[in-house]
Each structure stands twice: as structure tokens, then as C-alpha cells.
């Protein structure tokens, strides 16, 4: 008696979001099966990989990373180099230095940097703000204005600042937006409903339902994603059908395992290798959970995860 296969396809599907323009434009989402279940039905768009470039520059304490960026001394040069990284689908410019609790780079400077990068590369762009809701509401609006026509994704709108990002980024300047909530299906849905009420259509929104490094509360991320996909596909809940984009690098490279020096933990071995494995394990787990795009930093992680995706789908 042969095994009776019961493919689990859904009549509902995940929405799509396209970023970038022309031939280099990429689309995330669109599948009508659970994450990576290509054996149930073909997956419309394979998950995407973004490469993070921070406006603070490359961390030169990591030899392999520094070697990849060798000779690229400005953030714009680094962005150009990152765009050539094998396996990368888009660039994610992280405006870390704009954080008012950090360097507090003025909005005009950050905008000028984004503009310079956008002019220098032709790949799709994601712009990550300072994570400070108040600052981001002006910063991302100004970036949206400066990059008109580039079809970039601005991350992220939160409950505190979604209005200005909806109005400026999407409605006024035709960009895409990320909607960020803290690992809770209802918060994610509530934010999407609010964004919808602003007149922003789902095709312009990717969700960041929260992220965590492996070992740091990843169970919340996993369960939130499980539930979001179940509701989107099984219940046809169109307020949860936006594709999911997950910034992995910022989480993975900030936990103890990825930053403590070999001096302090000789048993653990070189710092860089630890960071890379942390980034890879977290990214693979996110993709298994349902991320339609992940943002990574290290060329080795990007290469591994790119190979991982093509092996599975």
C-alpha cells in the first residue's frame, strides 16, 4: 500500500511585495503553502537575501568581513562592494548612526548618504532607520522623498510612527514600507489594520513580526510566524498576508556569543566564526518559520543561506 500523500495547499496565498526597478527588481512572497514546503506546491518566489551595510562602516575587527570590504573606505564604496556579494538580492542600508541616543547624525546627512548610495548602485534597496520611532518618522519620510522612483522599502513603521511613514513613504512618494511589531500576532495584525486604514494597500507592506537571535527568545519569533502564516493561509486573513522580512544580522551580531572576544572565552574560538554561525542558524530558523526575506551581514552567511535556499526550493 503506497503512502497516501496529502499535500497541504491553500486557496489563500501570501501577498507579494516588489522592490527595486527594472531588471534588478525582486519580489517576495506569493506562496500558497507553508514556508519552504515546495513539495506541496511550487513556491512563487524563493525567499530573498539582503546584505546589510551600516552607516557606521564595516566592523574591521572581523578579518574576513574586513577583507571582503578591503579598499572600500566610504559607506558608499562599501555599498557598491556589498551589491556584488554573491547570493545577495538587495542591499539594506542601516542608518544606525541616526539614533538620537547614539551619534545622532542629522537627517540631511543620512538622506544624502542614501541618495549617494542609490545613485551608485542599481540593486533594490531597503533602508533601515535608527530604530528610534520619533527620529525615524522624519528620517524615513525624508529618505522616501529623496529616493523617489527607486521603489525602496523603508523599515520600519511601528505603532508609534506608522502614520508619517504611510503618508510620506508610500502615499506621497510611492515607496514600500516595513511594518514592525513585537512578536505577537495580534499586534502585527493591529498595525496592519491601522496601516490599511491610512489607505496603504497590502502590496506596499512587508511585515517585520519581530526577530531574535537563536537562543534569545526565538520561540516567540517561531510561534508568531507559525501563527501568522496559519492565519494568512488557513483563515485567509488578509490583514496578515503581507510577506515577512526579518533583519537577522542586527540581532545575531549583537548577542554575547557573537561579540565576546576569543581572549575572554578561549574555548569558544574566533569571534568571527561564532558570529557567522549565529547568523546562519538564526537565518535558517527564520526561513523555516516563514521569513520571505532575511537581512544578513557576512559574505559567508550570505553564500551559505543562498545555497541553503536553492537546495530546498
Amino acid at each position: 500500500m503506497p503512502f497516501k500523500r496529502m499535500p497541504q495547499t491553500f486557496t489563500a496565498s501570501i501577498g507579494t511585495v516588489t522592490i527595486g526597478t527594472g531588471e534588478k527588481a525582486v519580489t517576495m512572497g506569493g506562496e500558497n503553502v507553508l514556508p519552504l514546503y515546495s513539495f506541496d506546491a511550487p513556491i512563487a518566489n524563493r525567499p530573498l537575501i539582503g546584505v546589510e551595510v551600516s552607516d557606521l562602516g564595516v566592523d574591521n575587527t572581523l578579518p574576513e568581513l574586513a577583507a571582503f570590504y578591503a579598499g572600500a573606505d566610504t559607506v558608499v564604496e562599501q555599498a557598491k562592494r556589498a551589491a556584488t556579494m554573491p547570493g545577495a538580492d538587495f542591499l539594506a542600508i542601516r542608518l544606525e548612526s541616526a539614533d538620537p541616543n547614539g551619534a545622532n547624525t542629522p537627517v540631511e546627512e543620512s538622506v544624502a548618504l542614501c541618495k549617494a548610495i542609490a545613485d551608485a548602485v542599481d540593486c533594490p534597496l531597503v533602508i533601515e532607520g535608527s530604530k528610534n520611532a520619533e527620529k525615524d518618522s522624519t528620517l524615513l519620510a525624508k529618505v522616501a522623498e529623496a529616493l523617489q522612483g527607486k521603489n525602496v522599502l523603508l523599515m520600519s513603521a511601528k505603532e508609534e510612527n506608522y502614520k508619517s511613514i504611510c503618508a510620506a513613504a508610500v502615499l506621497a512618494y510611492g515607496q514600500k514600507m516595513g511594518a514592525e511589531s513585537a512578536v505577537d500576532i495580534n499586534l502585527a495584525k493591529q498595525l496592519n489594520v491601522l496601516i490599511d486604514k491610512m489607505g496603504v494597500k497590502g502590496e506596499n507592506v512587508a511585515m517585520n513580526v519581530g526577530s531574535a537571535a537563536a537562543g534569545y527568545g526565538f520561540e516567540y519569533v517561531a510561534s508568531t510566524m507559525d501563527r501568522v502564516k496559519a492565519a494568512a493561509l488557513g483563515q485567509n486573513d488578509n490583514m496578515l498576508q503581507m510577506p515577512i522580512i526579518t533583519p537577522v544580522s542586527s540581532e545575531a551580531w549583537s548577542v554575547k556569543e557573537a561579540i565576546v572576544s576569543e581572549e575572554d572565552e578561549p574555548e569558544w574560538g574566533p569571534t568571527e566564526a561564532r558570529g557567522v554561525e549565529m547568523e546562519i542558524a538564526t537565518a535558517a530558523a527564520c526561513l523555516a518559520g516563514g521569513s520571505n526575506a532575511v537581512i544578513l551581514k557576512h559574505p559567508k552567511s550570505v553564500a551559505t543561506i543562498a545555497a541553503f535556499i536553492s537546495a530546498i526550493i
Partner: protein, 710 residues
């Protein structure tokens, strides 16, 4: 002559002027000359939006005029007035556009701004959409005096309202040295009334950009401008017919017109408002267009932060103490009519803090009087409960108690920094407006330090408290029209949905029906959603088709049926926060209840934590149910199984908590006195069902004569 006729006459006037402008320009440059408004992708935006015309040549203005003419019908109907009004605005745009045929900068070297670029539309549009700019005003013609003009403009500026000026008021503003220009948010649009064409052009472009309204979708624009664009008009006397016609257009778009004209004018509620006193223009206008000004900062001389919540002010550090334990004090939130109060007014009756010696215990009452279209008196206690938290967030101020039993200490350092009685009003105003902005439109605070008067205030407040308590006591599941969901706990219990009813609070005991109602009003997309109860299935079980639909929807399909009053059939699920768990004890056919604090074993053979592991997590476990303490004494508790008479065991401490109300319920239901004494507790029975039976038999517990549970 009636108002309608004034509109029609004004629109004719505008049309004639437009026709004249078009004829002149065609004669000058020919019909094939290009017609481009600078820096816009929306052509002549009003023509494009309302008529669907993409005008690119001067000659096409002629055809557009024909369309406008056809809008200016003259039947004595509102519809005709509105159409003529909008036609007037389109004609105005045409007049202004003619100025741009030969030059891109017809207003260069003048005070006037003229055409607004797409970039300016976006720049103004974003904060308008987000609410950062609460709205905009178009002020037309000369104010009675330069000073009144300046005061009005500055008044709007200070409230963040964007200002467009048309006509004589521009000269007045210039004379009063008011800075003007797009960046300072005061734009002198133009000299003549047809400059309104530029403003309406901005409005329709905003609708196309931010609302994705398609050109030619007349109704779409009506809807968008009415619901989304918070604009209004201030027009000074004497009103000309042509201005009245433009006003008709504004009203058609949903923008009220406020004027000080008293002659030959007809009041239309919410739309055409006569306010003879120009000093009242701002308040009247904001109220007419439902604009609320966001309160962002609290005007007090000390810091305000949750970091100060835990401060304790000791006696030696104390400047003054409000002592509700000995003197007449009270705190109260009460609802008023909007017309009865003045927004942000803080009234101090009696001496201020600096008139009392250091360390004085004083009598003080403070009453926050609030008004709002969505305000309900049920929200008063919800707001009032927050006062404790608000006042404790003030640096060096300490608050305990509630209602008429309050104690407030103001430290010497706060006093030295300048903290006075009215600052309590500032805090109340700012916090109530920002936290409860969804229901509070206006807020006025009354603070009184006169002992004799406070005796009266306190008596008054007590009446309110009593009325509230009576309302709470009278609230039953039957007396309300809707229930609410609460899905706050889904973050850790994904499939659980609480249905909150007046008699069955959230099982955590923390969310009452009134809380859920307020949460719903304040956060319409939040955790508490309305559940209608229009389609009851079985009133004893407490089943409703509406409730089933709600739990199905909010559990994302995990739950299909829930009963409100049964433990045996589809009992309500639990997240894990339950105050109590009840479960059936089969030998007695009764129900044991155990509260979280009790660690011992129950006659069911299980402890609270064992019961919790099988009852929590949103799973339905017939025979077991989590609930709040308050529910125990309700007539709805176990209603399907015969009511509270099923209760056979509770920990002694829990018995004492519910005794009074439970005895009353049992008396009502079964005519039994002191029912609580018939219920066993851990002092007589622990894990032994036999001993429980003996106890129940001895007490002749009503459960012994009830039907078996299974």
C-alpha cells in the same frame, strides 16, 4: 434674496470673470498655446479631478468652461448649490491659470504665493494625513482691525493649524509684521477671491496622492475631502456674493465656513456658522470641523515621568499635604456639555500653595470636567483611576487613595521649583487629552482649596460615586446590548479568547465590562472588540451565534463554540491568568473552586497548579474552567448546571472574600441562608471525596438534591 440665490449670483459672477480671462488670453496667444501649471503632474488639478479634463492647451479652457456652466444649475435645491459652489472653484482655478500662460511666475515681486507645487502639496499633505498638522484654515478678506487679523493668525499658528490667506487680510498681516511663506505655515495665496482656486487645487491633489482618488470620480472627492481633509474657512464681513458662492463650494467639500457677517446670511448648523465675535473664531471653527489639538507637553515646572512613580515624600520634606483622611477632599472626573466648559481652562478657587505655611494639611478638591461627542459617563471611573498614576509621575509629588479618601504630598523642592495648585490642573488636562483623546474633546479643571466649598464639592462627588456604584451593581448580562472580547493574553495563550460580560469579568479579574468598553472606544482596533448578542441560542447555557462567531474569528479558528454559563458544555477557555479554577467533583456532583493563592490539594485530587496545566492554554476541558473571583457569586455562575448551589468546596480564605455576595445570591436562588457555611474548605476536607460527602450530608447541602452532572 435667499442664500441659494446669493450662491447662484456669486457663481455667475465668477463664471463671467473666468470667461473674460479665457477670451482675453486666447485672443492674445491663440487657442493652441500650451497651458501648463508649473511643477505639477496634475494639469489644472480642479479641472482634472472634478471634470476628468487634462488641459494642456489654452483653447481647451473653453471646453472646460462649458462643463462649468453646466454645473451651475439654478434649482432651489442643496444639490444645485453644492454643484454651483464647486463649479465656482473650478472657474476660479481657470482665472488663475490664465495668469500662468505667459509666465511661470506671475506673482514674482508681490506678496502673493499663487500656485502651490506638487512638492508643497506633499510636504503639507504628509503632516495633514498623520495629524501632525491638525488642519488648515482659509481666511478670506479683511478683519475688522489689523490687531484682530494678527491675533487670529497667531492663534492658529500656535495651535499648529496651517493658514492660507486671501484678500485684504494679507495686507493687514504684512502691516502687523507677521512672517509669511510656506515654511512658516502662513501662505498669502492671492489678492482676489479667485485665488481660492489654488487652495482647492491643493485639496484635490492631496486626495489623488494620498487617497488614490481617480480623476473624474466626483463622489470620491466629496467623500475624501469630507472625511480626510480637516479644512475650514473664516470669511470676514462684508460677505460678497462671490465669496458666498465659494463658501458653497467649501461646504460642499465638507469645510465649514465661519463668518462674522450678520446681515443677509442664513445659518446652517455645522456648515455656515455666524460668530460675530472674531476672538471666538478659532474655538468655533475647531469645534465645527471636529479638530482636536494634540497636547504634547505638560506645562509644569518639574519633570513628569514614570520614573518618579515610586517616590515617597516624607514629612520633613513636605511643603503641603492634601489630607483626605481628616478634611474634605475629593477627585472627580465628570462629563459636561461642550458648551458648558472652556478647553484648557484651569480654575483655582481659594488660596494657592504659597498662601499656606510650610507643612500645612489642607482641604482640596479637583474636578476634571470633560466633554466630547464620544464621551460616556461610563468612562469617568476609568479615567479617574488613572489620576493616581498621573500625579505620582510628577517629580516630588506623591499621591495615594482615590475618590474622597486621597492624600497628596507636595515636596519643598517641587514647591521651590514653582509647583502650585494649578499645575495639578495642567497635568490632568494634558494627560486626559492625550490618553483619552478618542473620547475627550474638551477638558476644564476646577481646583478648590476653600474648606467650606469643598464640603459641598465632596457631597456632590459622593453622589456621583454612589450613582456609579449603583450602575455597576445594576449591570447585568441582560441589561446591555453587547459583550466584548479580550485577547490581551494571546501573546502567550494563542487560541484563548475571553468574552467579557457585565457579570462575567475577564478571568484574570482585571478587565471588567466597563474597562473593555472603554478600551474598545479608545483603541478601536485593539484587544477588546464588540460582540453583539442579537442571536441567542440558549439563554441558560449562555450561547449566542454572535459569541461563537467571535471566538472562532479571534482564536483564528481554534475554537468553535463557547458557552458563557456552563462548565460541562463548551466552557470558556482560559489563558493561564485565571484567579480561580473550578472543576467538578463527581462523587458529590458538585464543583470545587480553588484560587491561585491556595497551594493545597482539592477534593478532586488535584492542586491549583495541576488543574492549571489542564485548564490553561486556550484548551476547552469540559468539567473544568478558569474564572475570576467576582464571577463566583453571580447568578450566571454554573447557571446551566443549576447555579451556585453546585459549589461544594472552596479554600477558607476565598470563602471569606465572596461570602456576603454569595450568601445573597443563594438566598435569592434557593432561599437558603448562610449558604457559604455549607461549603467545605481545607480545614475540614482536603483530598478526600468521602469526607467531602460526609460534610455535605451533615450540612444538607443543596447539591445533594440536584441532577447528576454527567
Amino acid at each position: 434674496m435667499g442664500l441659494f440665490d446669493r450662491v447662484f449670483r456669486g457663481s455667475d459672477e465668477m463664471y463671467a470673470k473666468a470667461e473674460q480671462s479665457v477670451d482675453e488670453i486666447i485672443a492674445k496667444v491663440g487657442p493652441d498655446a500650451p497651458m501648463n501649471m508649473p511643477n505639477t503632474g496634475y494639469f489644472l488639478a480642479c479641472n482634472y479631478a472634478y471634470l476628468g479634463r487634462k488641459i494642456t492647451k489654452v483653447g481647451e479652457l473653453k471646453e472646460a468652461l462649458a462643463d462649468v456652466r453646466s454645473m451651475m444649475t439654478k434649482e432651489q435645491r442643496t444639490r444645485d448649490v453644492f454643484l454651483s459652489g464647486i463649479g465656482t472653484a473650478i472657474a476660479a482655478e481657470i482665472i488663475e491659470a490664465c495668469k500662468y500662460v505667459e509666465t511661470e511666475t506671475p506673482y514674482e515681486g508681490t506678496l502673493y504665493h499663487g500656485h502651490l507645487t506638487d512638492a508643497e502639496v506633499r510636504e503639507l499633505g504628509v503632516p495633514l494625513v498623520t495629524g501632525d498638522i491638525p488642519g488648515f484654515v482659509v481666511i478670506i478678506d479683511e478683519a475688522p482691525s489689523d490687531e484682530e487679523a494678527a491675533a487670529l493668525i497667531k492663534g492658529y499658528q500656535s495651535r499648529g493649524i496651517f493658514v492660507f490667506l486671501i484678500g485684504g487680510i494679507i495686507e493687514q498681516a504684512a502691516r502687523m509684521k507677521i512672517g509669511m511663506g510656506f515654511p512658516v505655515r502662513v501662505v498669502p495665496v492671492g489678492e482676489d477671491i479667485w485665488a481660492v482656486g489654488h487652495v482647492i487645487s491643493l485639496v484635490v491633489r492631496a486626495a489623488m496622492i494620498f487617497g488614490a482618488i481617480q480623476p473624474g470620480d466626483f463622489a470620491g472627492f466629496q467623500d475624501y475631502t469630507f472625511h480626510r481633509i480637516r479644512a475650514f474657512v473664516n470669511a470676514f464681513a462684508p460677505l460678497r456674493d462671490i465669496t458666498v458662492a465659494c463658501g458653497g463650494g467649501a461646504i460642499a467639500m465638507g469645510f465649514p465656513v465661519i463668518t462674522n457677517e450678520t446681515e443677509n446670511i442664513w445659518r446652517v448648523p455645522k456648515s455656515l456658522i455666524v460668530q460675530p465675535n472674531t476672538q471666538e473664531f478659532i474655538e468655533t471653527s475647531l469645534e465645527a470641523r471636529d479638530i482636536k489639538i494634540k497636547v504634547t507637553k505638560i506645562d509644569i515646572p518639574v519633570a513628569f515621568s514614570s520614573a518618579f512613580e515610586g517616590e515617597i515624600i516624607r514629612r520633613p520634606d513636605m511643603q503641603i499635604e492634601v489630607d483626605g483622611s481628616r478634611l474634605d477632599c475629593c477627585e472627580l472626573v465628570c462629563t459636561k456639555e461642550a458648551s458648558e466648559i472652556e478647553d484648557h481652562k484651569i480654575i483655582l478657587e481659594g488660596p494657592d500653595f504659597d498662601e499656606f505655611p510650610v507643612g500645612t494639611k489642607i482641604s482640596m478638591c479637583y474636578i476634571a470636567e470633560v466633554a466630547g461627542k464620544n464621551m460616556q459617563s461610563d468612562f469617568e471611573p476609568v479615567m479617574e483611576r488613572k489620576i493616581h498614576n498621573y500625579f505620582n509621575c510628577i517629580e516630588s509629588v506623591y499621591h495615594t487613595g482615590q475618590r474622597d479618601m486621597i492624600r497628596i504630598r507636595v515636596s519643598k523642592s517641587a514647591f521651590e521649583a514653582g509647583f502650585r495648585a494649578r499645575h495639578f490642573g495642567e497635568v490632568l488636562y494634558a494627560k486626559l487629552m492625550s490618553d483619552f483623546g478618542a473620547v475627550v474633546d474638551k477638558c476644564q479643571v476646577r481646583i478648590c482649596t476653600i474648606p467650606e466649598k469643598n464640603a459641598e464639592y465632596r457631597a456632590l462627588a459622593n453622589k456621583t460615586y454612589d450613582a456609579r456604584d449603583a450602575r455597576l451593581a445594576s449591570l447585568t448580562d441582560e441589561s446591555v446590548d453587547v459583550f466584548y472580547t479580550c485577547i490581551l493574553c494571546q501573546s502567550f495563550s494563542p487560541s484563548h479568547v475571553c468574552i467579557v460580560t457585565p457579570e462575567r469579568l475577564g478571568l484574570c479579574g482585571a478587565v471588567s465590562w466597563l474597562d473593555a468598553k472603554a478600551t474598545n472606544e479608545l483603541e478601536p482596533d485593539g484587544p477588546c472588540q464588540i460582540v453583539p448578542k442579537d442571536r441567542p441560542i440558549d439563554e441558560d447555557l449562555g450561547t449566542y451565534e454572535d459569541v461563537d462567531e467571535a471566538v472562532n474569528k479571534y482564536s483564528h479558528g481554534a475554537l468553535e463554540h463557547v458557552t458563557l454559563y456552563s462548565i460541562m458544555q463548551d466552557p470558556m477557555t482560559s489563558c493561564g491568568c485565571f484567579e480561580c479554577i473550578c472543576g467538578i467533583e463527581p462523587m458529590s456532583n458538585g464543583v470545587c473552586i480553588v484560587n491561585r493563592e491556595h497551594t493545597g490539594i482539592t477534593p478532586m485530587g488535584m492542586s491549583f497548579s495541576e488543574l492549571a496545566s489542564m485548564t490553561g492554554g486556550g484548551v476547552q476541558t469540559p468539567g473544568f474552567m478558569g474564572h475570576g473571583k467576582h464571577f463566583i457569586s453571580s447568578k450566571k455562575f454554573l447557571k446551566a448546571e443549576g447555579g451556585v448551589g453546585r459549589i461544594v468546596w472552596m479554600p477558607a480564605a476565598l470563602k471569606e472574600t465572596v461570602r456576603t455576595r454569595l450568601d445573597a445570591t443563594a438566598k435569592d436562588l434557593y432561599g437558603i441562608d448562610n449558604f457559604t457555611d455549607m461549603i467545605a474548605d481545607e480545614t475540614v476536607v482536603e483530598g478526600d471525596p468521602e469526607a467531602l460527602m460526609n460534610f455535605l450530608t451533615e450540612k444538607n447541602h443543596p447539591v445533594l438534591s440536584m441532577e447528576p452532572l454527567m
